[in-house]
C-alpha cells in the first residue's frame, strides 16, 4: 500500500473517492439484481474489484479531457458525469440510455458532451480512438489529455502494440491504463504471456511504464496524476499497469470456476472498497455516521436512477432505420 499518500488529500477528497467507489459497486450490484429479474436484455459485465482503478484514474481528469473506458470501468463513466439512470436505461434497452436502445450494457455508452467515448466489443479499439482525441488536443494546441483503458487480454491484441507505438511517435498526451486482472475471460495470465508485469513493454515504445497495486486507489490516483501531468506538459504518453483480480465472473453467466479458490480468496481479502474504507477508518477520516450517510446517498441515487430508467420509453420500432447516417 501507499502509506504516505493519504496525507496528500483532504478528508473531503478521500470521502469523495470512497463515495465514487461505493456508487460504482452499488450500480453494479443493482445491475446484477435487475438482470436476474429479467429486466436487462442481453448480458452484463461485473466490475467488482476494478473500482479503485476506474475511479482513482478518471478522477484525475479535468473538464475537457477525454476518456475511452473499457467494460470494467463503470466508475469512470460515473465520475465523468454519466448518471446511474442513463446507465440503467442503456442496459434495459430504453431510449434514456446514451445509445437510445441501440447498444447493449456498457457498450456504446458514449457522450461527446462529457467527452466519453463509447466502446465497441472489438478490443482494444478504444486505444486508437483515445489516441485520436489526444491527437486533436495536440493539433489544436489545447492543454488537454486523453485517457483509455485495456485489459491483460487486450494487451495481446495487435492493436494494443500499434496504439502504444503510434502514441509514442506522436508524443500524444494520453494515459494508457492497463487493468491486469490476470484473466482474459477464462484464460489466466500464464497462458497469455511469458512475463508477469506487462508494463515493461513500455520500454519497447520508449515511454514510461509502471506497475502498481490496482486495489489501492491512492496508488492509482498518484500514478495517474503523474502521468497526466507529464502528458499535459507535452512529454507524451505513459502506461500504468494496475494489478488486481475480477472478483466475479467475466460476464453475468460465468461462475468463474476456473479461478483457483486461493487466488480468489487472496484478492477478495483485497477488495479495493473494503481496503479503502478500513484505511479511512484507521486514519480517522471515516466514522459510522459518515459511512451510513454515504451508504444512503448511494442507495438513493441508485433508486432514483432505476426509477428514471424505468420511466424511460422503449424505442419505437419505427425509428429503427434512423441515424445510420448523420
Amino acid at each position: 500500500m501507499s502509506p504516505d499518500l493519504i496525507n496528500e488529500h483532504s478528508n473531503e477528497k478521500l470521502l469523495d473517492l470512497l463515495y465514487w467507489m461505493m456508487l460504482t459497486r452499488g450500480v453494479d450490484d443493482r445491475s446484477e439484481a435487475l438482470f436476474k429479474q429479467g429486466r436487462f436484455p442481453g448480458s452484463i459485465f461485473s466490475q467488482d474489484g476494478h473500482e479503485a482503478i476506474s475511479v482513482g484514474s478518471s478522477i484525475v481528469l479535468e473538464e475537457g479531457d477525454a476518456i475511452a473506458p473499457m467494460h470494467r470501468d463503470l466508475g469512470s463513466y460515473l465520475v465523468r458525469g454519466m448518471s446511474p439512470g442513463r446507465i440503467f436505461a442503456q442496459a434495459m434497452g430504453r431510449t434514456g440510455g446514451p445509445s437510445r436502445g441501440r447498444d447493449v450494457n456498457t457498450h456504446g455508452l458514449g457522450d461527446l458532451s462529457l467527452r466519453i467515448f463509447g466502446y465497441v466489443s472489438h478490443l482494444p479499439q478504444s486505444m486508437g480512438v483515445a489516441l485520436g482525441a489526444a491527437y486533436s488536443f495536440l493539433y489544436r494546441g489545447e492543454d488537454r489529455v486523453a485517457m483509455t483503458y485495456f485489459g491483460d487480454g487486450a494487451a495481446s491484441e495487435g492493436g494494443c502494440h500499434e496504439a502504444l507505438n503510434l502514441a509514442a511517435v506522436l508524443d500524444a498526451p494520453i494515459i494508457f491504463i492497463l487493468e491486469n486482472n490476470r484473466y482474459a475471460f477464462s484464460t489466466p495470465l500464464e497462458k497469455q504471456c511469458r512475463i508477469e508485469n506487462l508494463a515493461i513493454r513500455a520500454q519497447g515504445y520508449g515511454i514510461p511504464g509502471v506497475t502498481i497495486d490496482g486495489t489501492d486507489i491512492l496508488a492509482v490516483l498518484d500514478a495517474t496524476r503523474e502521468a497526466v501531468e507529464r502528458a499535459r506538459s507535452g512529454a507524451g504518453p505513459s502506461l500504468i499497469e494496475c494489478k488486481n483480480l475480477r472478483l466475479k465472473g467475466h460476464a453475468i453467466h460465468d461462475p468463474a470456476d476456473y479461478v483457483p479458490a486461493e487466488l480468489m480468496e487472496y484478492w477478495k481479502a483485497r477488495d479495493p472498497i473494503e481496503l479503502f474504507r478500513e484505511r479511512l477508518e484507521k486514519n480517522g477520516v471515516l466514522d459510522e455516521t459518515t459511512l451510513s450517510s454515504l451508504r444512503s446517498r448511494v442507495e438513493n441515487e441508485i433508486e432514483e436512477g432505476v426509477r428514471w430508467a424505468e420511466n424511460s420509453p422503449w424505442p419505437e420500432p419505427g425509428t429503427l432505420e434512423e441515424d445510420v447516417f448523420a
Binding site: S43, R94, R102, H122, S156, G158, A184, T187, E321
Partner: protein, 324 residues
C-alpha cells in the same frame, strides 16, 4: 437415433474427428479447459490435451496466421472465433493468405474457422452480426452455414476433411433451441449441396441459417392459405448449389430470398442476381429479398424484433409475391 441439440452435434463432430485423425486440432480463445464461450469444445481438452486443444491469448490475427502455417504443414486446424463478429479482427490473414494461397503457389490450406453467428438474443451490435457476404466475395474460401444439428455435424466433418479452407458459421440462436436426430457414427453432409426442406409449387423461399425454421413456419402458415411454398436451405453459400435453386424457381416461378444479414451487398443479392440472370424466362414475379434493414444490429427488444426477419414477415412478403 439420439436426439442432439446444435451445440452437442458440433461438439460430437469435433470429438469424433479428433479421434479419427491425429492431425486435427482446435485453437482459439477459451476453448481449452473452459470448453469455449458456448461450450462447443467442452471435453476436448480433457480428452486430447493442451497440444491439440490450444487456448490462445487474444490475438485473432496471429492464431489464424498460425493456423495457415500449420495447415500447410499438413495439420488440420479448427479455429474458433469466440463470436463471429470478432472475425473482423482476424480478417487480414483470412482474406489475404488463407483464401489466395492455393491459387497462387499451390499450397493447400485445409483449415476450418468456426464462429457462433447471428442474432436473436438482444446481444447488440457486436454479438449478433451476419457478415458471411464478406467471405463469399473472397475466391478460395468455402462458406458453410448449417441450420440443423444433423447438418451441423455432417457439414463440420465434411469441412474438416475438405482440403480447402472453410468458414463455418453456426447460428448461435439455434445452439440450444434446435434439436434433431443425429446419427452417433461420423458422417458427412456434402459441402455445396442445398437441401429442400419442404417441397412446394407456388413459391421458392431460399434461405439459410436461423431463418430456415422461420421460413418453414411461414410456409406452414401459408399452406393453410392454399399456397404451397418450397423452402430451400442453402447450407453452403460457396460453392453455391445453383442447380437446386434454379430448378426450384423454374418449377415455382417465384422466389423469395431471406437472410438475417443486412440487405445491401448481402448474399441475397447474389442469389437474386443468379435467379434473375439464369431463370429469367421462368419468373412470374420479381425475385424478392427479405432481409434485415441497412443498420447495425440494435440491442433493444422492440428494435431487434423490427430488425430481424421472422416467420410473420416472411409470410407477409410471400403473400405479396404470390399475388403478383
Amino acid at each position: 437415433m439420439p436426439v442432439l441439440n446444435y451445440l452437442e452435434s458440433i461438439n460430437q463432430a469435433l470429438h469424433q474427428e479428433m479421434e479419427r485423425d491425429e492431425s486435427v486440432f482446435v485453437l482459439g480463445e477459451d476453448v481449452g479447459e473452459f470448453g469455449g464461450a458456448f461450450k462447443a469444445t467442452a471435453g476436448l481438452w480433457e480428452r486430447f490435451g493442451g497440444r491439440r486443444v490450444v487456448d490462445t491469448p487474444m490475438c485473432e490475427w496471429a492464431f489464424i496466421g498460425l493456423a495457415n502455417g500449420a495447415a500447410m504443414m499438413g495439420l488440420k486446424p479448427v479455429v474458433e472465433i469466440q463470436f463471429a463478429d470478432f472475425i473482423s479482427t482476424g480478417f487480414d490473414p483470412i482474406v489475404q493468405y488463407t483464401a489466395t494461397t492455393h491459387y497462387r503457389w499451390g499450397a493447400k490450406i485445409p483449415l476450418v474457422i468456426r464462429a457462433p453467428w447471428g442474432g436473436g438474443s438482444c446481444a447488440g451490435p457486436f454479438h449478433s452480426q451476419c457478415k458471411e457476404a464478406w467471405f463469399t466475395h473472397c475466391p478460395g474460401l468455402k462458406v458453410v452455414i448449417p441450420s440443423t444439428p444433423h447438418d451441423a455435424k455432417g457439414l463440420l466433418i465434411a469441412a474438416i476433411r475438405d482440403p480447402n479452407p472453410v468458414i463455418f458459421f453456426e447460428p448461435k440462436h439455434l445452439y440450444r433451441r434446435e434439436k434433431s436426430e443425429v446419427p452417433e457414427t461420423p458422417y458427412t453432409v456434402a459441402i455445396g449441396e442445398a437441401a429442400i426442406r419442404r417441397e412446394g409449387d407456388d413459391l421458392s423461399i431460399i434461405t439459410y441459417g436461423a431463418m430456415v425454421t422461420e421460413a418453414l413456419d411461414a410456409a406452414e402458415t401459408l399452406s393453410g392459405e392454399d399456397a404451397s411454398c418450397e423452402v430451400i436451405d442453402l447450407r453452403t453459400l460457396v460453392p453455391l448449389d445453383k442447380e437446386t435453386i434454379l430448378a426450384s424457381v423454374r418449377k415455382t416461378s417465384r422466389a423469395l430470398i431471406v437472410h438475417e444479414a443486412v440487405r445491401t451487398g448481402g448474399f441475397g443479392a447474389e442469389v437474386a442476381a443468379l435467379i434473375a440472370e439464369e431463370a429469367f424466362a421462368a419468373l412470374d414475379a420479381p425475385p424478392a429479398r427479405l432481409t434485415a434493414p441497412d443498420t447495425p444490429v440494435p440491442h433493444s427488444p422492440p428494435l431487434e424484433k423490427a430488425f430481424r426477419p421472422n416467420a410473420e414477415k416472411i409470410a407477409a412478403r410471400a403473400r405479396e409475391l404470390l399475388a403478383y
